[in-house]
């Protein structure tokens, strides 16, 4: 073959995920965005001249998605008849979900191929796909171990498609089982091994990659979702290009504070730059280190002021220690009962004889007192 074979490599759409850990009001757009990722993949394929879209597992979030989820997904795939979709069962939607796969089989549009058995598939003449579907949620062996022994036509491109971890960083429970050999592309003579399971993009050498999810779904992987546009030419290294497909930008930032650092400015540095659409951002700020009463009050006020701009904005102060300065206590009062109360709380917050939880409560009470007395009446 003279023309490169172009495909879109994606995975882990997790259609049907409901984001129950986020506020109710935020979930609708996130759910819809996952469905829209199918269109984004279509756009990416057309933009790169790809004819096939390989979904390396976990297209669905679980084995029993609602009818609406899988029916609408099939419609979206069928709406692009110029492209072929290849669906590989992953651990979330393994072949053990017989009903799901029989439903998909029954209602699949003509351009959808369901990979329900391990073995070679001729995509086009000269291009063979070696796919390793997951029969069960957990698998006790490397499902790609048969690929080295699978013969294909001389000179044909050999593509691998699998779902799972190549090391113990799986997104899934039961990590450690069925680890895919990291050198599988080399041992099986694959021109490209398309993997799914890891929601962030990752290249494992020139011929192996995790595509990541096309629409991010958690704070673990910073940024928007993306897919990989892969161009394969026999005898050459694959040309792999990242194409951003996601709408929502997820980020979990660590804000490390020390008493001398202005927490408001430090927070500002973690915010998306000019031109960003905060409405499409989900930002979680995990604060640690130490801050004074004044610093904490300022940080909270700043967070309260900034929060509404973002689709999700969370300030996690659990790791922040309170630095109690005399100046802060002086701001509460120079003497009298208020000062005595503040000093009592400060002593409790620093008392090593108390449990960590009790010290934190005392520090919290002191911060609260500070905020009461700082707020204008």
């Amino acid at each position: 073959m003279t023309q490169p074979f172009r495909l879109i490599h994606s995975a882990d759409l997790h259609l049907g995920r409901r984001f129950g850990n986020l506020p109710e009001a935020t979930r609708g757009r996130l759910i819809e965005a996952r469905h829209q990722a199918l269109d984004a993949l279509v756009q990416a394929a057309r933009a790169t001249g790809a004819t096939d879209i390989l979904l390396a597992g976990d297209t669905f979030d679980n084995e029993t998605p609602t009818k609406e989820v899988w029916r609408q997904a099939l419609h979206a795939m069928g709406a692009a008849p110029d492209l072929r979709w290849w669906l590989l069962p992953g651990n979330h939607d393994s072949l053990a979900a017989e009903t799901l796969w029989s439903n998909l089989q029954r209602h699949a549009p003509p351009n959808l191929r369901l990979i329900t058995a391990a073995g070679p598939i001729d995509l086009v003449p000269g291009v063979t796909l070696l796919a390793a579907p997951l029969a069960h949620r957990r698998n006790a062996r490397d499902l790609t171990d048969w690929m080295p022994g699978c013969a294909t036509a001389e000179g044909a491109l050999r593509l691998g498609l699998a779902h799972g971890a190549v090391q113990d960083f799986s997104e899934s429970a039961g990590a450690g089982e069925g680890i895919i050999a990291p050198d599988r592309a080399q041992s099986a003579g694959l021109d490209y091994l398309a993997l799914g399971d890891w929601h962030g993009q990752m290249r494992l050498g020139p011929r192996t990659a995790y595509a990541g999810t096309p629409e991010a779904d958690g704070f673990r992987h910073k940024g928007r979702g993306a897919c990989l546009a892969v161009s394969l030419t026999p005898g050459a290294l694959p040309l792999v290009t990242r194409l951003e497909t996601g709408r929502f930008h997820w980020a979990e930032e660590v804000l490390a504070l020390v008493p001398d650092l202005d927490p408001v400015q430090a927070l500002a540095r973690l915010l998306p730059g000019a031109g960003a659409q905060p409405r499409d951002h989900l930002l979680k700020i995990r604060v640690n280190g130490r801050a004074t009463l004044a610093g904490q009050a300022a940080l909270r006020q700043s967070a309260q002021a900034l929060g509404p701009d973002f689709w999700v904005f969370a300030l996690d102060l659990a790791g922040l220690e309170t630095q109690i300065d005399t100046a802060d206590l002086d701001q509460l009062d120079h003497g009298g009962a208020l000062r005595q109360a503040a000093e009592a709380l400060a002593r409790q917050a620093a008392d090593p004889a108390l449990a960590e939880a009790e010290r934190r409560i005392a520090a919290g009470a002191l911060n609260r007192l500070y905020s009461y007395l700082q707020d204008p009446a």
Binding site: R18, G20, A337, L345
Partner: protein, 863 residues
């Protein structure tokens, strides 16, 4: 501020202007009866300070006859004299004059006056300290007044020391506490999470999500279980319905049936051979038994003959020994009979000796008793006469009674004589005829007692009947004494007392003789003479010629020897009898044994006679053995190549059951699969796993929210606790200056007492006396009004010390106090009045005389 003079015009009962002037520093007293207008004065001052001149609520001030109330108050404020004037109703005014200069009017005047009573933080002194009539509660005004008073107290303390505000935290503390309480109240109440509050909702959501997650997990698990089961069922059904499996099951059945039929036939042949073998075995066994039986019978018969001969020998020997023993027994019997005869004779001789000795003793006794009877009989014969003499005449008691009766009569007679009138006649001459009293000559010049009616015969004059009547004498007593004596003498059989005494003496002598006779008789015949006679009658008199005496002891010795001989003969007889019995028994046993042996020998002979002869038995045994050997060989041959009938039957049944079970299993699996399909298709599209994953995420989030709310509660409680603890400590210091002022006055009334203050109202809450805390509302009216007054005085002194003089006006504030307590309250007032202006309004004119102070009076002015 000091009040100096007050003028009222058309206020209540004062339709004509009145004035109370010359209010001085220190203690002022306006003492007047009820209805004289003291309370009007109090209300007027109050109205001047607190009732705007534009107010229409002036009914309490307006006099019954109508008019527009007007009040003018002269004061000194910061060293300057002012006059405050207010009039309500028509022509209402409010004015402030400084001398002749009007410095404010209307609203400006109201503001000027208000400033005098405003709290410190609003630019004015703390206001007047009012104490109203009655048992003054501290907060007894309207809510707004009470609130203002509380603010005043706080401000008062703030003015006393700048540290107070900082110590208690002041309004910032209040604000922080209020915010903390407010936020806490959103979450919890005293009883736990506030219903419908965030904490409550979070808990409920966690519970609901937890429940839902569990239910969904169960549904999911059930669905997965159904899918797994369906997969298993499908596989089982496919295996079951495969064509080769079905053919295999049928072939197994045919093979099993064929094998079973062959095994059954072989089993029947074997059964026949086995029966023949059993029969031959039985015949052989019987032949052997009969041969053995004949041999045993012959041996037994021989053994019995030998044994019988031995026993018969022993029997002959035993018979001889028995005869010898019986002869010895006869001899012993005869010896015993002889010994018994000797013993009987000895016993008879002994009894005769004893009877002779007894007869000699009886004769001696008879002689003794006869002599005694001879002595006793004369005494017995004399007894009746002696007893009669001893009963004749009065005894000692009767004589004593007679003596007493004679004395009583003598006494009665003496008394009669002494009590009777006496007649004494003196003759004119010795020649005159002698008078006669009751016929007896009446001697001259001799008093004669007249104890009864008497007739005095006066010769030449006639008779004079004299009747002494009953005066002086006791004739009944005299008569009774005489009658008694006469009766006693009659019963004693005596004519007079001398006879009676003689008879009594004779009776004593007779009694002595009788006792002597009785004594002799008791000695001779202690059991009576009749007993003596009876015993004598039972005894035989001594024989004139006694029989020769036998020696009883010798007779008894002879008897004992005879008894010993008889006993020995007894013993010998028993031994002979026992021996004879044993010998007889031995002979008898041997005789029985011989008889038994003879019976057995007869029986053995009979059995032997019933058996065939030995040669016949040997031939029959040989025939049976040959038959048995043949039958056994046949059976073993069949048994050796016999198929396993039970196994082939089991194989056949198993083959049949496999086919039956396969049909049943197929039906069951098809039904089960239909059920699985229906359930799975119904549940799979519900998104159970989606729901479960979502619910678990929600649960995690809800748990985080709940933990955050619980932390929030803990934080707020910690903050409130810290603030309240610090505030309580500060309040202790807060009240120190008040207590410093109050304590000396308090102890004028109650030594060693203390007053406790409420932290919120800043008012007294309890009195501690003698270590016992008493809530203020449990104290008597008098005590409460005294405490109220002292507290106000303490606050007033603090104000004065801070440069804000405030008059204290007391309107009959001590109506419940007794005189003693009143005296001590006066001491307190006098002590405080040095720095203050105190105005006392009271109707207790007399009681207040002791108070001292500057006296105020109502002064009526010309209109």
């Amino acid at each position: 501020m000091r009040l100096r003079a007050l003028t009222l015009t058309d206020v209540r009962q004062f339709s004509r202007p009145v004035r109370v002037a010359a209010m001085a520093d220190g203690l002022n007293v306006l003492s007047a009866p009820n209805e004289s207008g003291k309370s009007t004065l109090f209300e007027a001052i109050r109205a001047l300070f607190f009732l705007p001149h534009t107010s229409r609520k002036i009914a309490p001030l307006r006099p019954a006859v109508g008019g527009n109330p007007e009040i003018a108050l002269d004061i000194d404020h910061e060293g300057v004299a002012y006059r405050l004037v207010k009039r309500w109703g028509k022509g209402a005014i409010a004015e402030v004059w400084q001398g002749a200069r009007l410095i404010a009017k209307s609203d400006a005047a109201e503001a000027w006056i208000n400033a005098l009573t405003l709290p410190a933080d609003e630019g004015g002194p703390a206001g007047l300290l009012w104490v109203r009539q009655g048992p003054a509660d501290f907060d007894q005004g309207s809510a707004s007044e009470n609130k203002a008073a509380q603010a005043m107290r706080r401000d008062l303390m703030s003015s006393v020391t700048l540290e107070i505000e900082e110590m208690t935290g002041g309004r910032r503390m209040d604000r922080a506490l209020a915010l903390a309480h407010e936020e806490l109240a959103q979450l919890v109440t005293q009883r736990g999470a506030k219903a419908g509050g965030p904490l409550d909702l979070a808990r409920r959501e966690v519970e609901a999500l937890d429940t839902r997650a569990a239910a969904l997990a169960e549904q999911s698990l059930a669905l997965r279980g159904q899918i797994d089961k369906r997969r298993d069922a499908r596989k089982l059904l496919a295996d079951l319905t495969a064509a080769d499996e079905e053919a295999s099951r049928q072939q197994r059945l045919i093979r099993a049936q064929t094998a079973f039929d062959a095994a059954q036939r072989h089993a029947q042949a074997l059964q026949t051979a086995e029966a023949q073998l059993v029969s031959a075995t039985l015949a052989l066994t019987e032949a052997r038994r009969r041969q053995t039986a004949r041999q045993q019978a012959e041996t037994t018969l021989s053994d019995l003959g030998v044994k019988l001969a031995e026993v018969e020998r022993d029997l002959a020997k035993a018979g001889a020994e028995a005869a010898t023993a019986r002869a010895a027994l006869t001899a012993a019997t005869q010896a015993l009979t002889a010994a018994r005869a000797v013993q009987t004779a000895a016993a008879t001789a002994a009894r005769a000796a004893l009877r002779a000795a007894a007869r000699r003793d009886e004769g001696r006794r008879h002689a003794e008793l006869s002599a005694t009877l001879a002595r006793a009989e004369p005494l017995v014969a004399a007894l009746p006469a002696q007893r009669a003499a001893a009963r004749t005449g009065p005894d000692a008691a009767a004589l004593a009674t007679l003596e007493a009766a004679a004395q009583a009569l003598a006494l009665a007679e003496g008394l009669a004589q002494a009590a009777a009138p006496h007649l004494q006649l003196t003759y004119a001459t010795p020649e005159v005829p002698q008078a006669r009293l009751d016929g007896q000559p009446l001697p001259a010049d001799t008093p004669v007692a007249l104890t009864a009616r008497a007739i005095l015969d006066l010769p030449g004059y006639g008779t004079l009947t004299l009747d002494p009547g009953a005066q002086g004498a006791d004739p009944a007593r005299l008569d009774k004494a005489r009658t008694t004596l006469s009766a006693l003498l009659a019963s004693a059989g005596a004519g007079d007392l001398a006879q009676a005494r003689s008879a009594a003496q004779r009776r004593v002598q007779a009694e002595t003789a009788l006792r002597q006779t009785d004594g002799d008789l008791r000695h001779l015949v202690p059991h009576g003479i009749e007993a003596l006679r009876d015993e004598l009658a039972r005894l035989a008199p001594a024989e004139s010629e006694p029989q020769p005496a036998l020696d009883p002891d010798a007779a008894q010795a002879t008897g004992e020897q005879a008894e010993a001989a008889r006993h020995k003969a007894d013993t010998l007889l028993e031994a002979a009898r026992a021996l004879a019995q044993r010998r007889d028994e031995a002979a008898l046993r041997l005789s029985l044994q011989a008889e038994a042996l003879r019976d057995k020998r007869r029986e053995a002979a009979t059995q032997l006679a019933d058996l065939p002869e030995a040669p016949g038995l040997a031939q029959a045994l040989a025939v049976a053995g040959a038959t048995h050997d043949s039958a056994r060989a046949d059976a073993e041959a069949l048994r050796g190549d016999a198929p396993d009938l039970a196994a082939s039957k089991a194989t056949l049944e198993r083959a049949r059951s496999v086919i039956t079970a396969a049909h049943a299993e197929r039906a069951r699996l098809e039904a089960e699969l239909a059920g699985f399909e229906a359930t799975i298709s119904a549940r799979a599209g519900d998104g159970v796993d989606e729901d479960l994953a979502d619910t678990r995420l929600k649960l995690g989030t809800a748990q985080n929210v709940l933990a955050a709310h619980e932390t929030e509660v803990a934080v707020l409680k910690a903050l409130i606790g810290a603030l309240e603890t610090a505030q309580a400590a500060a309040r202790e210091r807060y009240f120190a200056p008040v207590l410093a002022e109050l304590q000396p006055m308090l102890r004028l009334l109650w030594p060693e007492s203390e007053l406790r203050f409420d932290g919120d109202s800043l008012l007294p809450s309890a009195l501690v006396r003698g270590g016992r805390e008493e809530a203020l509302d449990t104290l008597s009216g008098g005590t409460r009004e005294q405490i109220a007054l002292l507290v106000r005085l303490a606050f007033a002194r603090l104000l004065a010390k801070s440069g804000r003089d405030t008059p204290v006006i007391l309107d009959d504030a001590l109506v419940y106090s007794d005189d003693d307590r009143l005296e001590r309250m006066f001491d307190a007032l006098q002590t405080q009045a040095a720095d203050l202006q105190i105005i006392v309004l009271s109707c207790r004119t007399r009681a207040l005389r002791a108070l001292g102070g500057h006296a105020l009076h109502f002064e009526t002015l010309e209109s």
